[in-house]
């Protein structure tokens, strides 16, 4: 069964025993928490947001709201809990329970995305707290239950300055579709089979369309369940130890792919299927270590581990459509089943040590060293799972030989693998050093150095010892059953396969990064600080288009407090990236062309890509970035924040990404009138603009070896460009007010996102399908997403210990996404089958009533 879970229980048992045996040191609790903020869509704050504000304010020092050093208002402190004594303990608690009533499009997946709301009873929240003042012991329980898949429970116990133990369980749903119509049986398993009314590899489009139309719409969702344990122990004022262990299981179904040859290219051949993939996996994360924090030295020794396991190793699905070869009279083998390998099990380990020495006058020197290992040694699947044969049968044409038909038995066994398991690993080494000196009170000098190396020590050559052939079979045999020779493997001894250009080995992507930076912060006056930082980054990847990529940046900063009611911050960064010679094809060694016996075809080896292509991460680039932020304090209880950010990137590429610009602006207003009255509003806008270009290759096969832009393979007539723009508006208003005994909370949120993609092309050759040119279009329809949500809540005290909370949440979504246009009519087109109907408009409302009882 689940060994890590058993291990978790053992660790928990041992941990509790160790805690019990430990002497209790009496020092302050600095706290290292479990990795999760618990909450749900009904109350993302996990109960904190419902408590209100302490009417006495936040401090006996000042009666005004407190501000951060940059001028923002802190949120108000919650009221002090009323507690009652029980022996040595002081107890407090409250429970919220009640019911919801949903109306409208309550099943819409956008409405239910991260929730599982339904009509009926719910436990809104349970908060129990016990403290024993004389030794600082405490116990805290928090819980909420909306449904089986939307709930959390957290128990925290400890003694201030001694230890803290946290245990939690959390269920969170992720609804990804409310209108899926998968045609298969076995949804949720790793084996999708067609219903009896359809014949694998032999069903007509109309029959598949009829099954799809008759399939009821269903919800697809993935449920995440996470449980965890966290322990902090304080050996002394300086030494602490911590251990966090979490286990997250994911179960459910999501839309996935499944291709059987190029259906757009050949509308009545093969099939393109949107399958539904099972999700049944889990990840155990471990994070533990010990820290020392002294007045002069600080140390941190830590281990992190992550362990991923999938219940399934493979995922199979049946294809309803037949395959037909491009050779007249020939017959495709009956390949009716597709296969995917699931995500492989893998382990990650990382150990690290950090040593910091505090220097005089506020200086600091720090060195951190880390070593990591990513290991993946999953048992490999046979290259194909067919029975009989795959490929093209020429015998109906009268051919005496069948060079394009291959026996499944040579490939459907692990004996067809060059090794039985992946045996892959990536080792990483990181060294970080920093030195901060303050030569004068007004000057701070910072210098950092970072070294990071990722090494891929192992390699994999896909070689079939049963056949002496190399490579991976395409689409479980489908492509080779349509086009002769395009089966995906290379055979140096077979004249039909000794020129096959195919991938035969893995691509190691080892990298080394060296980065150094130095900078000064100069406090010009007590209210003016200027800063300048120069950073040099050298990135040296293996098997990429460049062996060396250098980036130099200059960052200037200005912080000004000279006006008492205003904090201004301004940053500007200039970055230039370039490198050594760009090699458009560094991947030759991973293809069959690198193997002995490869015969170069008469037309030459097809060019990997056009030589003018510049991949965006390897491209030379110039970046200008500006951040401006003003925090205005017109009154003690009011803040207005205005921000502007701009990021302009120009790429040196004729083909590839050419420009990426991003702009954003935000205006925010917050007014903490009093502990009983708060109001805030915001408006934000951001936009991005992406320009890219590419070139389509000519349809003439005989000129494939020419990589030049404007050459025979990539003529200028094939150039096209696209301009993608995204604009988002967000706005919101929040308000709460104590009206005598009744507290009113109200809010409104608005989101509007619009995506536009336009394109231009030199000639119809540039288009994937030349006939589109006749439409005269130069762009896709806009994608828009508009969401309005409003909520109002009344908290009415009934007695000293009982309150009634009435609330109404309304949501409306208006979505326009052309990808799903027409799916309300049919999900089957030619040999293409779609399962998910996509996002759609909705309007839904929740009315809730919760009784709050102080225990």
């Amino acid at each position: 069964m689940r060994k890590p879970l058993t291990l978790l229980k053992h660790v928990l048992t041992i941990t509790v025993a160790v805690i019990a045996a430990m002497p209790p040191p009496a020092i302050a609790d600095t706290g290292v928490g479990v990795d999760l903020q618990l909450g749900n869509k009904l109350d993302p704050t996990g109960g904190v947001g419902l408590l209100g504000c302490d009417p006495r304010g936040g401090s006996w020092l000042l009666d005004t709201a407190h501000r951060t050093p940059t001028g923002n208002l802190y949120t108000c402190p919650p009221p002090v809990r009323e507690r009652r004594a029980a022996g040595d303990w002081l107890l407090s608690g409250e429970i919220d329970f009640g019911a919801l009533n949903l109306s409208g499009d309550k099943d819409n997946f956008l409405f239910q995305r991260y929730s599982d709301w339904s009509d009926g009873f719910l436990l809104g929240g349970l908060r129990l707290n016990a403290e024993r003042p004389y030794d600082g012991s405490y116990l805290d329980l928090r819980a909420s239950r909306i449904s089986d898949h939307d709930q959390y429970y957290k128990l925290t116990a400890g003694r201030y300055g001694s230890y803290k133990l946290q245990l939690f369980l959390r269920d969170l749903p992720n609804v990804v579709s409310d209108n899926a119509k998968p045609i298969w049986n076995g949804v949720g398993t790793n084996n999708l089979t067609l219903p009896s009314s359809l014949t694998p590899a032999a069903s007509p489009t109309a029959a598949v369309a009829a099954v799809s139309a008759a399939t009821p719409e269903r919800r697809l969702q993935i449920n995440r369940q996470k449980e965890g344990l966290g322990l902090d122990y304080y050996f002394s004022r300086s030494w602490t130890a911590y251990l966090n262990i979490t286990d997250e299981q994911r179960k459910g179904v999501r839309p996935f792919g499944g291709s059987f040859f190029f259906n757009y290219f050949a509308p009545l051949d093969g099939g393109i299927l949107e399958t539904v993939k099972p999700i049944n996996d889990y990840t155990v994360n471990v994070n533990g270590g010990s820290r020392y924090a002294g007045s002069r030295w600080r140390m941190d020794f830590a281990y992190s581990g992550s362990f991923y396991r999938d219940h399934y190793s493979s995922f199979n699905f049946q294809d309803p459509f037949g395959l037909f070869p491009v050779i007249a009279g020939a017959v495709s083998a009956r390949v009716y089943q597709g296969q995917f390998a699931m995500e492989p099990s893998n382990d990650y380990h990382n150990v690290r040590a950090t040593l910091t020495r505090v220097l005089s006058a506020g200086g600091e020197a720090s060195l951190s060293v880390a070593q990591g290992w990513m290991l993946q040694n999953q048992a490999l699947l046979p290259p194909i799972n067919c029975q009989g044969s795959f490929g093209i049968d020429l015998s109906p044409t009268g051919s005496p030989v069948n060079p394009f038909l291959y026996p499944c038995s040579s490939w459907n066994t692990t004996a067809a693998l060059s090794q039985r398991s992946a045996d892959m690993r990536i080792d990483s080494t990181a060294v970080n050093g920093s030195l901060v000196l303050r030569p004068t009170n007004s000057l701070t000098w910072r210098t950092t150095y970072r070294y990071y190396r990722e090494n891929y020590p192992n390699s994999y050559l896909m070689y079939n010892p049963l056949t002496g052939q190399y490579g991976y079979i395409n689409e479980n045999g489908a492509q080779g059953s349509v086009v002769p020779g395009e089966v995906g493997f290379f055979d140096p001894t077979n004249p039909t396969l000794n020129s096959a250009l195919t991938r035969v080995r893995n691509l190691p992507l080892s990298t080394v990064t060296n980065e150094a930076s130095t900078g000064l912060d100069w406090r010009l006056t007590p209210r003016d600080t200027l800063g300048a930082t120069v950073t040099f980054n050298r990135y040296e990847p293996e098997n990429r288009e460049r062996a060396r990529l250098d980036a130099t940046s200059l960052k200037l900063t200005w912080l000004n407090h000279s006006i008492s009611w205003l904090t201004l911050r301004a940053n500007y960064t200039y970055l230039h990236q370039s490198g050594d010679t760009y090699n458009y094809d560094p991947y030759g060694f991973t293809f069959s062309t690198s193997l002995a016996g490869y015969v170069v075809p008469a037309s030459g080896v097809d060019a990997h890509t056009v030589d003018a292509m510049r991949k965006y991460d390897m491209s030379s680039r110039t970046q200008n970035k500006v951040d401006l932020m003003g925090t205005f304090m017109p009154r003690d209880d009011m803040t207005v924040t205005a921000t502007f950010r701009g990021d302009w990137n120009q790429y040196s590429a004729v083909v590839g990404r050419q420009q990426l610009n991003q702009l954003s602006a935000m205006l925010q207003w917050e007014w903490q009138v009093s502990p009983s009255t708060n109001a805030s509003a915001f408006y934000g806008y951001d936009q991005s603009s992406l320009h890219l270009s590419n070139v389509n290759e000519t349809a003439v096969d005989s000129v494939g070896s020419d990589p030049r832009l404007g050459g025979a393979e990539y003529p200028l007539a094939g150039l096209w460009s696209a301009h993608d723009r995204q604009g988002n508006h967000t706005a919101g208003i929040l308000f709460n007010q104590q009206l005598r005994r009744v507290r009113v909370d109200a809010g409104w949120n608005f989101q509007y996102a619009r995506g536009t993609t336009g394109y231009s092309y030199a000639s119809p050759l540039a288009l994937a399908y030349a006939d589109v040119a006749a439409l005269g279009q130069y762009g896709f329809p806009d994608l828009t997403y508009r969401l309005n949500s409003a909520n109002v809540s009344l908290l009415v005290p009934l007695t000293k210990s009982v309150s009634l909370r009435l609330f109404d949440n309304f949501e409306q979504g208006l979505i326009s996404d052309w990808h799903y246009a027409g799916f309300d009519q049919s999900r089957v087109y030619n040999h293409r089958v779609y399962s998910d109907g996509g996002p759609h408009d909705y309007s839904a409302n929740i009315i809730g009533m919760l009784i709050n009882v102080k225990l």
Partner: protein, 240 residues
């Protein structure tokens, strides 16, 4: 020349007995909500007029505002607002003391302002101290750094790095933030007075205002040794 001083000494010793009795029998009303003094208005007064009204005060607090008897506080160079707030507190019963309350009861609003201005204009002398150097050093560390292990905040945060208060001049007071001008200057106070007041904050007998609430929580983190060390350190300081 010396007779008036002797007279003041006699009065002082008589009042000392009453004050000591008051400290051992707190009469503060813990059930009453503290008076919120987080937002105060700066007051002004006539220092010269105040000097003419200080004869009775001088018996305990010294002619020059530096107390002769260790149990009484020196008032010289205390912030105007602090002195005024204490007089107001005695007058309105926010702070209880059987000696001070009857004396203040007869003062007018202007008297209190003038007296506050008068004492704020005087120089503070170090108190007579006999403590060991170790004790003073420990007190200095506590004052400047606090004691994180016990949750004691550094005293200098509210009373100034030199224990002279945060803002001690009228011009500075005019620009004060919040009520920091109502925090006392501690330099030169006698060790005995400091210890007595810390104890009073710790046991809750000095209360009545939000400022007292702050000191009550601080005093909870102090033990008698820490209180003595702080008192001994502060007694070595002066305000010029």
């Amino acid at each position: 020349m010396s007779a008036p001083i002797e007279t003041r000494h006699v009065i002082a010793w008589l009042l000392l007995a009453a004050a000591a009795s008051a400290d051992s029998n707190p009469v503060g009303d813990a059930s009453r909500p503290p008076v919120d003094v987080r937002r105060v208005t700066h007051i002004t007064g006539d220092a010269a007029a105040g000097a003419t009204k200080a004869a009775v005060c001088a018996a305990c607090h010294g002619v020059d505002g530096n107390a002769v008897v260790p149990l009484f506080p020196s008032l010289a160079r205390q912030p105007v607002d602090y002195i005024y707030l204490q007089l107001e507190s005695f007058k309105k019963g926010w702070r209880t003391n059987p000696v001070m309350q009857p004396l203040v009861a007869t003062l007018s609003e202007q008297d209190m302002r003038d007296l506050a201005a008068h004492y704020a204009s005087l120089a503070r002398s170090p108190a007579a101290a006999t403590a060991s150097a170790d004790d003073v050093t420990r007190g200095k560390t506590l004052y400047l750094d606090g004691d994180p292990a016990r949750g004691t905040p550094p005293c200098q945060g509210c009373h100034g790095a030199n224990a002279t208060g945060l803002l001690t001049t009228p011009a500075a007071n005019a620009q004060r933030l919040g009520n920091s001008a109502t925090y006392p200057a501690l330099a030169g106070l006698s060790s005995g007075y400091v210890v007595t007041q810390l104890k009073a904050f710790r046991d809750g007998s000095r209360s009545g205002t939000t400022n007292a609430l702050i000191m009550q929580s601080v005093a909870q983190t102090l033990d008698p040794q820490a209180e003595a060390a702080l008192g001994d350190y502060l007694a070595t300081l002066a305000i010029r």
